[in-house]
Symmetry: C2
Subunit: 320 residues, 2 copies
């Protein structure tokens, strides 16, 4: 297969490139490095079946040849990044998605949209199945990301229903692993950064609030399986196992330096929204479920953060 | 003021042109006649302060000079129209809104987005205040319109917060009046069309389900007032008075031909969603509330439908 992947220099994108190349496919990656990292491109630059085009998919896709699959993964995805770039985040969800859909339509290619659990917003239903419509404030501060992805889903369904494009939609829940950005701003990277710097780990409140995180290899496996079936509605891909924030802190501390302390600070007013996937559909449709245990995933993540430099991975790109 | 109005050949757009010209402003109208009507342009073509540009705002705004206000009203708005043109509806909400916002940003103009009560979807709260987040299925059949408008609101707020554009957002509830399209597909036009053809009026179920409709002049007055205040969040403009479907049928029947019958048919499965505006904000902010009584508004509407031809107003444009 010849595959076009937008967001190839992103965290998830880079793992998809690795997997597709490993399976013998040809990959054309596109990224503008708004939140992607140049070293994720450099990993594959010498591979004979990888080509890279630096471009903003919102402006168009200056790529040559035809494709069997078009995967649209380009977008800032962590709150600090999309709140820094709200307009760009909205445009890559609309114009970016449309350019990718048009390419898939032209080539008769399979299209996949990387959507997100953020389409559920501040959910009133736990866990969230795909037919939960979500709870999002269209005019709110986070709406640049949430509404961009909801729009991208609507556009994808319209191209499927109206233009017959063979589409897939995944809703990605919290994911962690090697090559996350060190300034991702979420709990796993925050703890790893602190521990690698030899600082105590900061827990807000009593640390008993729970989160669920999937290891990136599990997500990639789900993506590969979904590409192989003919199903066009949204599919949740995430790990429903919940751990307390304190669990994360203790595992990461123990992996890096068991002598480090844990300090407790008051809960901030804007504590991140909590979501947990209902993965019944992915189980039934794909025979898929997360396999990598939390401790093992965190070991691999910590190892990769150590490689790039003690708590300060090399940061390159536009906002370096 | 020099005003740019997209969707100038639409139902609401044409009433705005009339009002702005009446107040001494200069108006540049833009429409591609996807659902607008050529005769709404012809009404003003000889006016010295009106200019018209036939263009698709999703592709760009080929207009000259600078503007004091940019009003983005272009979009299919009735269910039969947006379901016939789902992709175009999504694009005019994203690319169209962005082109209009960029023009307002360039000129330091006031921008107004015509949003809709459909951002509330199938509401779980009645009536709907502006801070209700809505209940919309992003992958559903109606999402092409609902999500396009939610996205347009998010983009408008991002341009306001991030680029300092002086924005306004109105959420328009069901509106009726002269120059509605005869194939609008909603209850008022359906009844008027049937009665003018001398047919009995078709009521679904027992006709006791309620609807609220505002007369277009009330909406236009709310728009003018909102342009005059500095408020950037969404503002509901609609009439909260509820009437049963049978009320509408009887008033329209009596206005056109009291001898006509009313026939009852089973309620269809996809009976339109019901919404009722909470207009507390518009009352407090603008001193505005609907003034035109239903019977009077319907009289004027019926008179205009009679003028253009018995139940078959001249239909021009791409899908004539």
């Amino acid at each position: 297969m010849r595959i076009l992947l937008t967001g190839s220099a992103g965290f998830v994108g880079s793992h998809l490139v690795e997997r597709f190349l490993g399976e013998g496919h040809e990959v054309v990656g596109v990224d503008n490095y708004l939140s992607g990292q140049r070293r994720n491109t450099e990993l594959f630059l010498r591979h004979p079946r990888f080509r890279f085009v630096e471009a903003d998919v919102s402006a168009g896709l200056p790529v040559e040849g035809t494709f069997d699959a078009v995967l649209h993964f380009a977008s800032p995805a962590s709150p600090p990044h999309y709140q820094q770039h709200p307009v760009e985040t909205l445009l890559v969800g609309a114009q970016g998605t449309q350019h990718a859909l048009e390419l898939a339509r032209r080539d008769g290619a399979t299209f996949m949209l990387a959507s997100t659990s953020e389409v559920y917003g501040d959910p009133l239903v736990h866990p969230q199945p795909e037919d939960y419509w979500g709870h999002v404030n269209p005019a709110g501060l986070r709406s640049c990301y949430d509404e961009a992805k909801r729009y991208a889903e609507a556009l994808t369904m319209a191209y499927h229903r109206h233009h017959g494009v063979d589409t897939r939609i995944i809703r990605i829940f919290n994911t962690y692993g090697p090559r996350m950005r060190a300034d991702d701003g979420r709990v796993v990277t925050n703890f790893v950064n602190q521990a690698l710097r030899g600082e105590p780990l900061t827990v807000y409140g009593e640390g008993l609030q729970t989160r669920s995180f999937q290891y990136v290899d599990d997500l990639v496996e789900g993506i590969i399986r979904l590409l192989g079936v003919s199903y066009h509605g949204p599919v949740n891909l995430g790990n429903p196992d919940e751990y307390t924030i304190l669990d994360f802190a203790e595992i990461i501390r123990d992996l890096i330096d068991p002598r480090l302390g844990i300090v407790y600070e008051p809960m901030p007013a804007d504590d991140p929204r909590q979501r947990r996937p209902d993965i019944t559909l992915a189980r039934e449709l794909l025979g898929w479920e997360p396999r990598v245990p939390l401790r093992e995933g965190l070991e691999r993540t910590v190892a990769s953060f150590r490689e790039v430099g003690e708590g300060r991975p090399e940061r390159v790109g536009v906002d370096a």
